[in-house]
């Protein structure tokens, strides 16, 4: 489906067309699920968060003004839902049981290394982790990430710099001598 058709769908849903909303939800479920999965690293939590996000989408879609990409808007919705979800369930995405299940495509030793790095990423402070995931994993620009996380472009750059410094301290040494 093209961007224009999506816009059309969003407009129709915003004007109260339940069928259009259903199509939209079906269309973007996967995107939202993948975002949620990256955010929490395991399937059950991701499914719960996505379900919650869909409901929030139903409540809040009319407030989407079209001044940013719909996906960026969705990112913010999913990330905020995830934060609230963890807050109200009194849990944290970095809990051990979650990370064991993160799927990566790398194999063998690389896979182990990748999993360790990802585990370390989940241990980072919230702001740094989110910035890192949006920019490095989703390939967004610092500006877009700033819009989603509600902070300045320079803040994103700073957070990523900090995060890389921390990860570097953890992993570079081992790589050099190992």
């Amino acid at each position: 489906m093209s961007k224009n058709e999506d816009r059309e769908l969003i407009k129709r849903a915003q004007s109260g067309d339940a069928g259009a909303f259903e199509a939209l939800a079906n269309q973007y479920y996967e995107t939202m699920f993948k975002m949620a999965y990256k955010f929490c690293g395991n399937r059950p939590d991701a499914e719960d968060i996505t379900q919650e996000s869909c409901i929030r989408l139903a409540r809040g879609l009319h407030s989407f003004k079209g001044d940013s990409a719909f996906t960026s808007w969705l990112y913010r919705l999913v990330i905020n839902t995830g934060k609230d979800w963890y807050k109200s369930n009194n849990r944290h995405p970095k809990s051990d049981d979650g990370l064991e299940t993160v799927q990566v495509s790398a194999k063998g030793e690389d896979q182990l290394y990748a999993k360790q790095v990802i585990a370390a990423v989940y241990e980072l402070p919230e702001g740094e982790r989110d910035a890192l995931l949006l920019v490095m994993s989703e390939g967004l620009s610092h500006k877009e990430a700033g819009q989603i996380l509600g902070c300045k472009e320079s803040t994103i750059s700073w957070r990523i710099h900090e995060a890389r410094k921390k990860l570097g301290a953890l992993f570079e040494k081992e790589q050099k001598y190992g």
Binding site: F33, I55, R59, G60, H62, K87, N89, Q103, L133, M136
Partner: protein, 694 residues
């Protein structure tokens, strides 16, 4: 760290494809929500003033405190006109604050779903910005929250309407889902499945009714180590001189046995707290004597044997069998299934197994029994209003359309289920709520004690409760026990389709029809013949001596055809005691046995209530010292199982008794073993032996 490398690793996080069922249920929920919101929006006045504009908080960057501050500064600092605006905003904001506070208080008191609480919190936090949206928000909230929980005491009318509203939303979601869900089996497939069912099950479904075959369970990812068990210590040996009376409540649950079997089949020695010996022993059916008349629902059979694990000790077996109900005399049943459809139930050994189990149970019911179906996940809702079993296809469709997703608000579901059961309460029949869950109630009232309070309140309405536990890894066994023990109920753990058949088909009458409730046992030992005693198992069921005569104290229930076994280990007078005599206690002369009670080891008393009565009745019998005629195979079997339980728990009383001894004893006592359950037990002991640390 190298940016390219990091980018590669993080870009490589491979989010799996979403689950179709989860997607369907999420989309359906969202569409239902969308329609509700739209309806409210249509009725809400739009664009009346600057403040009536519909804006959403999600577009505002409320997470950045610096921005919020700057906004406040803008608002409060400024010219006189701005001041006027600020005043209005201030007043509205204050009202909002009060309203929202009330709402928060309400939602804290009652059970609501996560989202309601979260939204309420947010409204509080956003109060400065939120004033303009308030009109919309106020109306949207009540439906977004799945209704403040109706407590029967306050405002019954208001709460009823709200619950109905919630129920409607639930219905809505299911009808929407039904459109998408493909119908189950049809045509030729149905015939095949019917034939297979007829062969494999003692109760074949009547022709014309399609029962999808239970599917085999494939390997899949499982959570580990989050099961919760109530911890307890084995009961200590007690001196008859100090404490001659032992009191406990009977327990016909079997959940522990299936749990232990499942762990052992996976090569894992189960958590000692998961092993409740009385539940292992009571898993099996024994041929104890039945009462002569139906006036008394059961009769105790007492046997005394030598203890196989301690030379000088003896075992006292107390066996009880309740009379069974003939099929044509079965009372009418009013059942409410309460199914947990939260995200955690989405694994092959949970929701699909629940569905198959419920369908099996359905086949054992009479055509004019009624069945209702409620579900709980993020919110609780009724999927199927009470329906006659003769309209089987409707019930089957409702069961088939269940999907998992969302978090678990168990308490709201329980309230809803009891409400339905009360609505169609049948004075003459059996009214029962059957909960199918992995026990993970993580939303709303979730502490064991709070749920206990709810259940205790409901118990008085005369509705019975059965808890069926499913899955492992996230199982909250302790909560299940709390529910079953406090709600006139039983708990069973279902890990395979075979277990479902045992609990729901073979034992349907005992699972469904109680013949006595609050059954308590009290044994007083004769100090002249017995020095010490120790009750094997029943630790979690121990009662105080005075509780025995107190009808207010809840205890276990016996269903039609249930058997219950309790085993005491006693040290007869003259044998080497486990406890040294006290140095300072007054030395009593070794009195000659009084002729009156010469032959009695002790005296057994049982109190019980008939299912619809509130006054207890009493059965008493002396335990004679020469009740040790030839121990029959049932007694030997029960002893072997009890011995196994004690080894598994690491109990120290058991001495040198080993798994091999258990296997030997069990093999001797296996009997006819119609359903292969005893053979399975022996196999399980072998597994335990193989997995045991050496």
């Amino acid at each position: 760290m190298d940016e390219a490398k990091l980018k590669k690793i993080l870009g490589d996080i491979n989010a799996p494809a979403p689950d179709e069922n989860a997607k369907k249920s999420a989309v359906n929920l969202a569409v239902a929500e969308f329609k509700t919101v739209e309806n409210q929006r249509k009725n809400a006045p739009q664009g009346i003033s600057l403040f009536g504009r519909l804006t959403s908080k999600t577009t505002q960057t409320r997470r950045d405190p610096m921005q919020q501050k700057s906004k406040q500064r803008l608002m409060y600092g400024g010219m006189a006109t701005a001041m006027a605006v600020v005043l209005i905003v201030g007043v509205t904001a204050q009202q909002t604050m009060i309203k929202n506070n009330e709402f928060v208080a309400q939602s804290m008191l009652a059970t609501t779903n996560v989202d309601a609480a979260a939204t309420a919190m947010e409204s509080l936090a956003d109060v400065n910005e939120a004033a303009p949206q308030e009109m919309e928000r106020e109306e949207a909230l009540p439906s977004a929250a799945p209704a403040p929980l109706p407590t029967p005491m306050d405002a019954p009318v208001a709460s009823l309407t709200v619950t109905e509203q919630a129920a409607q939303v639930g219905n809505y979601a299911t009808t929407a889902r039904a459109k998408i869900a493909t119908p189950g089996f049809a045509g030729a497939g149905a015939d095949a499945s019917r034939m297979m069912m007829a062969e494999s099950m003692p109760y074949a479904p009547p022709p014309g009714v399609v029962v999808p075959l239970p599917e085999p369970i494939n390997p899949y990812y499982q959570e580990e180590g989050r099961d919760k068990f109530q911890d307890f210590k084995p009961s200590p040996v007690k001196l008859v001189a100090d404490e001659p009376v032992s009191t406990f409540s009977i327990d016909v649950d079997t959940a522990s046995y299936s749990l232990v079997r499942r762990e052992l089949n996976n090569g894992i020695i189960p958590n000692p707290d998961a092993v409740r010996i009385e539940e292992l022993v009571n898993y099996f059916d024994y041929n104890y004597a039945l009462p002569e008349t139906r006036e008394t629902p059961f009769k105790p059979t007492v046997t005394v044997t030598n203890s196989p694990w301690s030379k000088d000790k003896k075992l006292v077996h107390i066996g009880i069998k309740g009379f069974d109900i003939q099929t044509d005399q079965k009372p009418h049943s009013n059942l409410v299934f309460l199914v947990d459809v939260s995200g955690s139930m989405d694994s092959p050994d949970k929701l699909p197994l629940v569905k198959s189990s419920l369908k099996m149970l359905l086949d054992t019911l009479q055509p004019d029994d009624t069945v209702a179906l409620t579900v709980y996940a993020g919110s609780a809702g009724t999927v199927l209003e009470p329906t006659k079993v003769s309209d089987k296809q409707t019930i089957l469709n409702a069961i088939d359309n269940l999907n998992a997703g969302g978090s678990t608000a168990g308490a709201a579901g329980i309230e809803e289920a009891y409400r339905l059961a009360e609505k169609h309460f049948d004075k003459e029949g059996v009214n029962r709520v059957i909960v199918a869950t992995d026990g993970d109630f993580n939303v709303g009232v979730s502490s064991d004690t709070d749920l206990k309070t709810i259940i205790e309140k409901k118990r008085e309405s005369g509705i019975f409760l059965s808890v069926l536990g499913f899955g492992l890894g996230n199982l909250n066994d302790s909560l299940m026990q709390t529910l079953a023990q406090n709600g006139n109920g039983t708990a069973a753990y279902i890990d395979t389709i075979n277990e479902a058949r045992k609990v729901l088909v073979e034992e349907a009458s005992s699972t469904l029809f109680p013949i006595a409730k609050d059954v308590k046992i009290q044994v007083e030992f004769n100090p002249e013949l017995v020095q010490e005693y120790c009750l094997i198992g029943y630790e979690t069921r121990a009662l105080n001596r005075e509780d025995f005569n107190n009808d207010k104290i809840d205890a276990g229930d016996i269903g039609a055809g249930h058997t219950v076994t309790a085993i005491y280990e006693i040290t007869p007078a003259g044998a080497t005691p486990s406890i040294d005599p006290s140095r300072y206690a007054e030395k009593k002369e070794a009195a000659q046995p009084k002729s009156e009670f010469a032959g009695e080891i002790g005296f057994l008393k049982m109190r019980y209530k008939l299912p619809k009565e509130n006054e207890s009745k009493l059965i008493t019998t002396p335990i004679s010292a020469d009740a040790n005629a030839a121990p029959n195979s049932d007694v030997t079997w029960a002893t072997a199982v009890a011995g196994f339980g004690q080894i598994l728990k690491g109990d120290t009383h058991i001495g040198n008794f080993t798994y091999d001894d258990v296997i030997k004893m069990a093999n001797e006592a296996k009997g006819t073993d119609e359903f292969g359950q005893r053979a399975e037990f022996i196999n399980m002991v072998r597994n335990a032996k193989a997995s045991a640390p050496h």
